[in-house]
Symmetry: C2
Subunit: 340 residues, 2 copies
């Protein structure tokens, strides 16, 4: 192919892009098609579309310039499933099993002993200290890219005990539509999760269309060092650095975003302060809780749950005007594979 | 104006945008015009243009997909001036003077006493402890938006002692061109500074075209709280959280960006590890040091300087293949106002 041909094809391609760009601007997104087709009509869907319309309509009293359109999403239980326990715990448990041959001492040491026997209940009795020991054993002592490689391999091979699918397929179709709808209207979408930043970044960009720099999460202390070949690398230590949960979420938002969100989605009391921070900004703001009330298609849990407890949040929601998203009633499908 | 007219004007505007978009794609940026007009031809300019060309040319062995095109910039001494001392220190000193009437105890307490007498040399003898006391007094005890308001007011009113201009005019014209050139070629530009994150965010977006979420810096511990009106806010405490300098820079890069940069600019030993981390990535990478060697137009300092010391960096640069940018020889102008 000659250079002239390449230039010609480039130009043709550019014109095609330009024309579709013109069409996209000329036809408002809301008018023709439903931006949230997996959502039943109801208060939650209406609140989302109203917020987007008010903040993106030129001349509206609530108009928000595009750079300030920030949307934040919790991950576990909001963008993907978190039962029977947080998927990052499933990753850690699988890693403990894979690493056991190199750690004969785990045969007699809790919580490792119980985990290796498949007895999660006993392992859980070791409490926070036990959990930190498991996290330290599986999330440190390696470089960031090495850890990311382990996460990628686990995502590729592990299967959810109930749905028998890779964990990254257990994301919520209605929330994917919200992400796309917000981005189509000039919002920047961020994950703000209590889960590990380094754990999410290897798979979340492909799952949600959210780039690594827009993924905020908990983290351990990393150390910069030059390796034997003289190359600079980041080494993951066992020390906890930042817990991006509860009151930590507004802190993480300020650190990695620097603006108060216009809209925020959560599903548990760990998201309460993120929603409060969001709703405390001036102008139109919206917080929403995903409520897990569908035991048939997914799981049903709230005030008494060990995982994803939603108690204070349910009490606070009416005061702040936060819609509760009923998975049972508001969502036509839960997972993308149900559509196929 | 009727809706029809608005739609018509919108369409016309969209077509104009689309046409310029086509023209931008059809004519390669390097060919016609010099992307770095304030730079003299030399090794540094050549290295920057070569790196951009290699990483953005389809089919090149060093091609980098657009989402991975990350560029990081130190701020003090790299994007703006840092003499006679860091501008954030000038802000802190001015705040001490402004706050003095509410703090009679400062009249007898160092380093406040010396500062209030205009004796920076004596104040500096209080060392790190004294500096932290000054930072604590001026950078905490208020909400993030309150602090940002104080920074904005200072930027509006304060003047540099030598150049008699607002501090945000003392940014480097050649580096603004690098920022624009990189962004025009699909790079995301980030600040990674030892300076305060909350100090930069109020003015840096307008100065450099870099949004708050792409400004990484040092920070104090912030706490989320509900104020008397029941609104959520972030309160700045006096406790240091994170020092984004030296080996902290790769850590800050991982935390807020999550990718190794393709190109990084610094000017002091505090940027050494950022450049090492950048150059340790696979494929084409580039680190560069701005060298302050122009006492006539700006300042000349390096190995022995208290501010912006560049010593190890000068030793390491040849080993890593990092060009040294001579402000005297490589830059036709230093500040944007020289062009006017």
């Amino acid at each position: 192919m000659t250079i002239r041909n390449i230039a010609g094809r480039r130009l043709a391609g550019a014109i095609a892009i330009a024309v579709s760009f013109v069409l996209a601007i000329a036809s408002p997104i809301h008018a023709q098609t439903d931006p949230l087709p997996s959502w039943n009509d109801g208060a939650a869907k209406k609140a989302i579309i109203d917020l987007v319309t008010r903040t993106t309509t030129q001349g509206s009293a609530d108009f928000v310039p595009e750079p300030e359109r920030i949307a934040t999403f919790d991950n576990d239980g909001t963008l993907w499933c978190e039962m029977p326990f947080y998927f990052q715990m499933a990753f850690a448990f699988d890693r403990i099993k894979a690493m056991a041959p190199q750690h004969p001492e785990w045969k007699t040491k809790q919580p490792f002993k119980a985990l290796l026997q498949g007895d999660v209940a006993t392992a859980a009795k070791a409490g926070e200290k036990g959990l930190l020991a498991i996290v330290a054993a599986t999330h440190s002592g390696m470089t960031v890219p090495q850890f990311e490689g382990e996460v990628r391999e686990w995502i590729r091979t592990a299967r959810h005990p109930r749905f028998k699918r890779p964990y990254n397929e257990l994301i919520y179709q209605p929330m994917l539509e919200v992400l796309n709808y917000l981005r189509a209207n000039g919002f920047k979408t961020f994950i703000v999760s209590g889960g590990g930043m380094d754990f999410m970044r290897p798979w979340a960009p492909a799952a949600y269309g959210i780039p690594p720099q827009q993924i905020v999460g908990s983290s351990g202390v990393t150390q910069f060092r030059l390796n034997k070949e003289g190359k600079g690398e980041l080494f993951k230590t066992a020390k906890v650095d930042f817990i991006d949960d509860g009151p930590g979420k507004p802190v993480g938002i300020n650190r990695n975003i620097g603006r108060q969100p216009i809209i925020a989605f959560g599903n548990s009391d760990g998201d309460l302060q993120m929603l409060q921070y969001t709703s405390s900004g001036s102008g139109a703001r919206l917080g929403l809780f995903v409520h897990h009330d569908d035991a048939v298609r997914e799981y049903a849990y709230d005030r008494k749950s060990q995982i994803g407890k939603l108690d204070k949040g349910l009490n606070e929601a009416p005061k702040w005007g936060w819609p509760i998203i009923s998975m049972k009633n508001d969502w036509k499908v839960i997972f993308p594979f149900e559509k196929q």
